[in-house]
Structures are given as structure tokens and as C-alpha cells.
Amino acid sequence: MARSFFSRKKKNKQSNQDTQQPKFSAKLKKSLDDNLENMKTMLGNPGDLVVRELMIGGLETRAAIMYINGLTDKNLINNNILKTIQLNLKQFESNVLDKIFEEVIAITDTKKANSMDEVSLALLNGGTAFYIDGMETVLLMGTSGGETRSIEEPDSETLIRGPRDGFVESIETNLALIRRDIKDPNLRFKQHEVGRRSKQKLVVSYVEGIVNPEIVEEIERRLKTIDVDIASDSAYVEQWIEDSFLSIFPQFLNTERPDKVSAVLLQGKVAILVEGTPFVLLAPISLGEALFSMEDYNQRWLSATLLRTLRYFSAFIAIFLPAIYIALVSYHPGMLPSTLVFSIAASREGVPFPAAIEAILMAVTFEILHEAGIRLPKVIGQTIGIVGGLVIGEAAVSAGIVSTLMVIVTALTAIATFSVPSYSVAITFRMLRFAFMIAASILGLYGIVLIYIMVNIHLVNLKSIGVPYVAPFAPIFVTDWKDLIFRAPVTKLTQRPAFLKTTDDQSKETKSN
């Protein structure tokens, strides 16, 4: 409800903005000098704007090309525009621009324009404008290029086995990477624009005929409410269109891997690509997918099932272990075997704090180390390892501030947290861990179970693009359980996820057909 209220308010604001726009859409003049001067003024005569005046070969007419340095492919401009125009020896009687458009320019993506607004937008996108003296129309040529990062293996999701390519900052490259995987004419790339000033391209990608059309409609409806100056990452888009901004659970997955995107598109989901970031959003998702990795499908099913079960187990440790330690040590020591209780008591001897303070102290220390390790340059990163692991771990124990068992618990929790494939989900787990620790220090195991129930209540009410977040568990879709905690053999994974209510539900031709 709150979201719909906000979005409505923003929508009104946006329409107000739209009414102010027309002052830019001034028409072009006849005189070349006027046109060039106007455009320079509009862009503030920047240092990277290149204006090259020239004569058209056989015509003796003044003309000019204009582009922004660094956004364009210079070879293309030199060879396919400048040279061809200058070397042109043909004579045109009428309509010079049309003839040049048809016969001279050797660039496929060329169109005509006659407003300042169109020209400036094209220039800022890396296009080249071609002016002729005495014409109110210009040619805009798609010459975007310039330096981009090459395709590399993504650092955020490494696999042992699987494709090595990753998305880059250029959306055209990213789209091509998806196209290369899915050579289906039904693959759709619906283009939107995001960022009032950045004018970034945003592409909603899905496979028509698989995806549930209502999901696409809902996503597009939400995308229209976005009103930001710049979306420096797809995270901006994610935060604008997510179902509940109060939830600690991410309602979109992000990935840098084209193989993951194409696999997910073929399951009937939607991918959102934003220009300028390698991170692609995937929706709708369910809780189970937070612990999936592409590796699961690239290994044989038994290994994959074991690995996935291991990940569920480590997620459990990452969330519950410190809380259980607190609850058992301070409230229910009777549950543990007496020998273990004695050794815990022995190791806690001399520790002045209650178990809860001890655990929270260590957990906070670890979080600081974790955060510092991410922000530091890789070279200094090792120092953090030494300072954190050796100095704090060893020294805290010998100084009698924490017990050795607590150090083990913290270390185990830390390692378990790192085995969660998605960073945004791992952050959620870290937050949950603290909630459980606080609950455990107030009410012991009872507190843990109450928080657990509350998290469940939250989860069953949470949705990702209108699809229940805990979908294959509740509401139950038994067929989806084949790829949940276990990963059935690929020969058995013939159905698309039922909880997405896809248009066609079989990913392969089966015998029943």
C-alpha cells in the first residue's frame, strides 16, 4: 500500500517534469553557422566536442560533422564518413541530404533529425551529426565506440566449471552475450530509459511464450515510476521497484554471469539490464534461489545435491550458531553433555563477560574485519588477515576477554557466511544473525524460536514481483522441489518452475506430447 502511494506521488511529479521539457526541442536553423553555434551553446562548448567543417567533394557545399571525443569510434568516422564525403565526385541536382544519406554515408545506423534535442541526445550517446549548410535537417549516425572494459570472468561469482565470460558495462555487449546463449526469435529486449539526466538505457529481457505476461506487465508498470537523475548501478532500479523496501530480504537477484541470466530467462523469469553496470537484475525470485549457484547445474547431480545441501547447512550455521551458543551457555547448559559443559566452563573461566556480550563482541569485531577487508586494496588485504586472524583471535583469548570456544564459533560462522553464493543474501544472513543473538541473550532458545517464527511470518507475506517469496515451500509446488534442496538429475528437470505460472510449462519435448 505504502509503495503504491509513493509511486503515485512520484508519477505526478514526473508528469510535471515532462511538461517543462519542450524548451529543448527547438527546431534547427537553415544556416550552418547558426546550427553549430546553437549546439555548442546548448552543450556549453565543452572541450571534448569535436566540430569538423569540410567541403563536400564534387559539390563545393559547406558542411560539418560533430561528435564527442571518446564516445565515438574514430576509425569509423574517418573512413566511413569523412573520407567518403570528401572523395565524393557525384553531382546532385536536388535534395543533397537525401542523396548523401542514400549513396555516400557508409554507416548502417543512420537516421534524419531536425530538432536540437534529438541531435544533442545522439551526440551524448556517441553518435555523429552531419550538418549541411542551408538544410534544416541533419543526419545522425551511430558511431558509438570508444574504450570499454573487455569481457572478463566476474569476480563476484566464480565457478570451478562453467563459462568464463561475464557482463561488462556496455549494455550492447551484454545484450549480445545473452543473444549468443539464446538463439530464439522469441527472446525479447524491451528498451526503456532510466535516469532523468543520465538517460541510461534499461532493457527488460524475457522469452515470449515462456514468461507469464502478468509478471512483465507488472515490472514495466513499476519501471515507469522510476524518477532518478542517474542510476549508477542496477541497485537503484532494484530499490525503486522492489515489493517491500522495509524487508531485509533482497527481492531481486543480481548476477554478472550471462549463463545464469539465460538459464533463468528460460525458466520464465525476467532480467533487467541497465547501461553502465555489469550487474543484471533477475526477478521474480524465491528464497531457495538465494542459495543456488550455477555450479549446481554444471556438476553431476549427486555432487550438486551434496554441495547444495552443504550450502543450506552453512546458511543455518551462519544464521543460528552464535545465537545457539549464547542460548545454550547462558540458559540451557543442561542440554549439553556434561563433559562439554565442563570444558566450556573451563574455557570461559576468567572471561569477565556473560556469553551474550562475549558473542556480540566477537561478532561485531568480525563484521568490522569483513568490511575493512572489502574496502582495502588487495595488497593491504593480507594485513587485515594477519591482524584479524592472529592478533585479535589469539590475543583476545590470552587476554581473557573471550573464550576459545567463542573464537571457534565466530570463525565457523564467518566461513559459513562466505559459502553463501550471493553477497546481498549474505548481508541479510548477517543481519538475521544479530537479531537471533539479541533474542537468544534475552530469552534463550525461546527467543530464537520466536524470532524464527517472526522471520517466517515476514517471509510468507513477502513477494517478489507479486510472486510469493517462499513459493515452492508455501504455497506448495511439489514439482518444484526437484530443484530446491536437492537437484534432481537433469533428465528429470523437464518442467519449468510451476510457481512462476509460466505460459508453457515444459522445457523439453516429453513423451506425453
Binding site: E218, M335, Y446, I453
Partner: protein, 369 residues
């Protein structure tokens, strides 16, 4: 705001199948083996459970079938059709009261049991207040969410129980099963009464069936779900008897939890798991309390249709807390529990019977709302 079709409040027959055992399994089963062992000899109590369970399943089917005759109509609307509007309002009120008493009983029983097994120093008021707040949080969410919670917790509860029974295999004394069929008719009768009344909460079906999109299958599903609960009762009862023997079971306050205290989990990591087991059982109790509360909210909301749901919740919760804090000791709590189950059976059984007769005479109004 256009929402995806998942977002509506409609549920499936399968959700009813899960909701019935979720509602029935709660505090009752923790103390129930004591009452039954008191009245029957050796393991003869299972006969009583089978008969009592049969009656309960029959009632579940009757109620569900009755409600399914009026698809997508609230209890108030079809009750008004069958027995004039004023009577319908009184009945709805009585169901609301039942929900309040049941949830208050669960809230209080939780604090009482945790006082014994989890912590003896924490004030019971705090324990029950925390629990009630979580229940309030659940009820203020979507109703479909409540059914999803059932689906999430019920498997955990069943798994925990089956594991517990599995671990207690090492402690069974088969001689406790003997002698067979020595109970007299009076004992069976009393046992049947005890087991029948321990299946509380069937009345929720009057209200929840109306949320089912296609309720044709709902009666069979509900009866099937009830049979799970009956099966679980029999398993637990027989296990208690073979482990403790009839006399010991009759004298243990919470036989099911004591069972968890007795068993040893291999691996030596946990020495006593009764706290752990009770913690898991809290989920079952939570489901019951939340649904009972929710039914009260539905009932009152159907009478006061202009009041927002959250207001009803906020008005009811102090009531529930107040009723929960009334009993002085566990004997009083037991009396509240007995009252809740007799009241529930009386109300549900009576309404079901009377409505059935009227439906047979008057016929079903086909037009929906």
C-alpha cells in the same frame, strides 16, 4: 494497484488439508496421554483414540461439507439464510469467543510449560506477552500467509515427532503393551470422550472453507488432514505407553515432553532434548493460536464489517492477554483447556447438526453473493 493473481486471499483445498492438523495439534497432545492412560488399561487407549478420532473426522467432514454447500459465502451469510440473522450473529459471536479462549489458553499454556522446561526465573507474563505479540504480528499479515505458515511448520512438527519416536525405540518395554483389551466398557467410553474432546478447533472450518476457491474437494481433504492428526495421536500415545508404562504415563504432567527428556540422541551432542523438542512444538502451538485468533477476527469482522481488521486485532489482544493471565496454577489452566474443548465441541457439533437438518429441509441457496 493492479496486483499479480497470487496476491488474493483465496486458498486451495490442499491448504485446508494442512490447516486442520495444524489447528488440532497443539497443547492438547502434550497432556493428552496422561488423561487417556488414567482411564484405560495398558495400551488399550488406542481403541479410544481410533473411535474418538473417527468421530472427529466425521465432524470435520460434516462441517466442511456443510460449508462447501455455500461456496464463497461467509459463515454469517449462510447462517443468516439457514437460521435468521439474529441467531446467526449470536452464533458468530460464540465462535469468536471460542477463538479467543483457545488462543488465550495456548498463550498461557506456553508460558506455563516453558516455566518448567526452559527457564524458571523469567516471569511468565513476559513469556506469554512475547508469544502473543508474535501471534498478533502473524494475524495482522495476510490470511493466505497464515496458511503458508502452516505449510512451513507442519512438516517440521511431523518430522520432529517421527524422529522422537524413532529415537525412543531403544527405550521401549513391550511388556507395557500387555494385557490387551482388559479395559471395561466404561473405561473405553471415558477414554473416547477424552480423546474426542482433545481434537479441538474443528470450528475454524466454518470460516475457512469460504476462502477456498473451489470447495468441492475440501471436505475430503479436511477429513484426510484430520486423519493425519489422529494417526499422530495414536503414534504418540502408544510410544508413551511402551516407554513409560500405563501408571507412569498417567502421573506425568506432560508425557510427550518427558518422552523427549528420556530419549538419547545418538552422536552425544545433545544430552537432553526436551527443551529443543518443546521449542519445535512452539511452532505447532503458534499455528493453533494464530488460527484461533484469526477466526475470531474473521467472525467479528463479518459482524462489524466497517471496522478495519487491525483495529479488531488490537482490541482483542488485551482481552486474550487478560484471559491468559486469569488462571492461578496448572490446575486452573487445565480447567480452561477443558472448558475450551467442551465449548468448542458443543458449539461446533450443535451448529453442524442443526444446520445439516435445516439444509436437508430447506435446500441450498444456489446464488452466491
Amino acid at each position: 494497484m493492479s496486483t499479480f493473481k497470487y496476491g488474493d486471499e483465496k486458498i486451495k483445498s490442499r491448504d485446508i488439508m494442512i490447516a486442520v492438523p495444524s489447528m488440532v495439534i497443539a497443547i492438547g497432545i502434550i497432556v493428552f496421554p496422561r488423561e487417556l492412560a488414567d482411564k484405560t488399561i495398558a495400551a488399550d487407549g488406542w481403541v479410544s483414540i481410533v473411535i474418538g478420532g473417527g468421530i472427529a473426522i466425521l465432524l470435520v467432514w460434516l462441517v466442511a461439507k456443510l460449508a462447501a454447500n455455500f461456496p464463497n459465502q461467509s459463515f454469517l451469510s449462510y447462517a443468516s439464510y439457514l437460521v435468521t440473522k439474529p441467531v446467526a450473529i449470536v452464533l458468530t459471536f460464540m465462535f469468536a469467543i471460542q477463538g479467543i479462549i483457545v488462543s488465550a489458553f495456548e498463550v498461557r499454556a506456553i508460558s506455563d510449560i516453558s516455566h518448567q522446561y526452559l527457564f524458571d526465573q523469567t516471569p511468565q507474563e513476559v513469556v506469554s506477552l512475547c508469544f502473543l505479540l508474535v501471534v498478533v504480528y502473524a494475524v495482522s499479515g495476510s490470511r493466505a500467509g497464515l496458511f503458508r505458515l502452516n505449510a512451513m511448520f507442519l512438516p517440521i512438527i511431523f518430522a520432529a515427532t517421527i524422529l522422537l519416536i524413532f529415537f525412543s525405540l531403544g527405550f521401549i518395554h513391550t511388556e507395557h503393551l500387555l494385557p490387551v483389551f482388559k479395559t471395561d466398557a466404561r473405561g473405553y467410553l471415558q477414554g473416547t470422550l477424552a480423546s474426542t474432546t482433545s481434537f479441538t478447533g474443528i470450528g475454524i472450518l466454518f470460516f475457512y472453507i469460504s476462502l477456498v476457491k473451489k470447495p468441492e474437494k475440501a471436505p475430503a481433504m479436511a477429513a484426510f488432514g484430520m486423519s493425519w492428526a489422529v494417526g499422530l495421536y495414536i503414534l504418540i500415545y502408544v510410544t508413551c505407553i511402551v516407554v513409560f508404562g500405563e501408571t507412569a504415563t498417567a502421573n506425568i504432567r506432560f508425557p510427550l515432553i518427558e518422552l523427549a527428556k528420556t530419549v538419547e540422541v545418538p552422536g552425544g551432542f545433545f544430552e537432553r532434548i526436551e527443551s529443543l523438542f518443546f521449542i519445535i512444538w512452539i511452532m505447532a502451538i503458534f499455528n493453533t493460536a494464530a488460527m484461533a485468533f484469526d477466526v475470531s477476527v474473521i467472525a467479528l469482522n463479518s459482524i462489524f464489517s466497517k471496522v478495519v481488521k487491525i483495529k479488531i486485532i488490537l482490541v482483542l489482544s488485551p482481552f486474550i492477554y487478560f484471559i491468559a493471565s486469569l488462571p492461578n496454577d496448572f490446575l486452573d489452566i487445565g480447567k480452561v483447556g477443558d472448558f475450551a474443548s467442551y465449548y468448542g465441541w458443543g458449539l461446533t457439533g450443535m451448529v453442524a447438526l442443526v444446520f445439516w437438518i435445516i439444509v436437508k429441509v430447506k435446500g441450498v441457496k444456489q446464488s452466491g453473493k
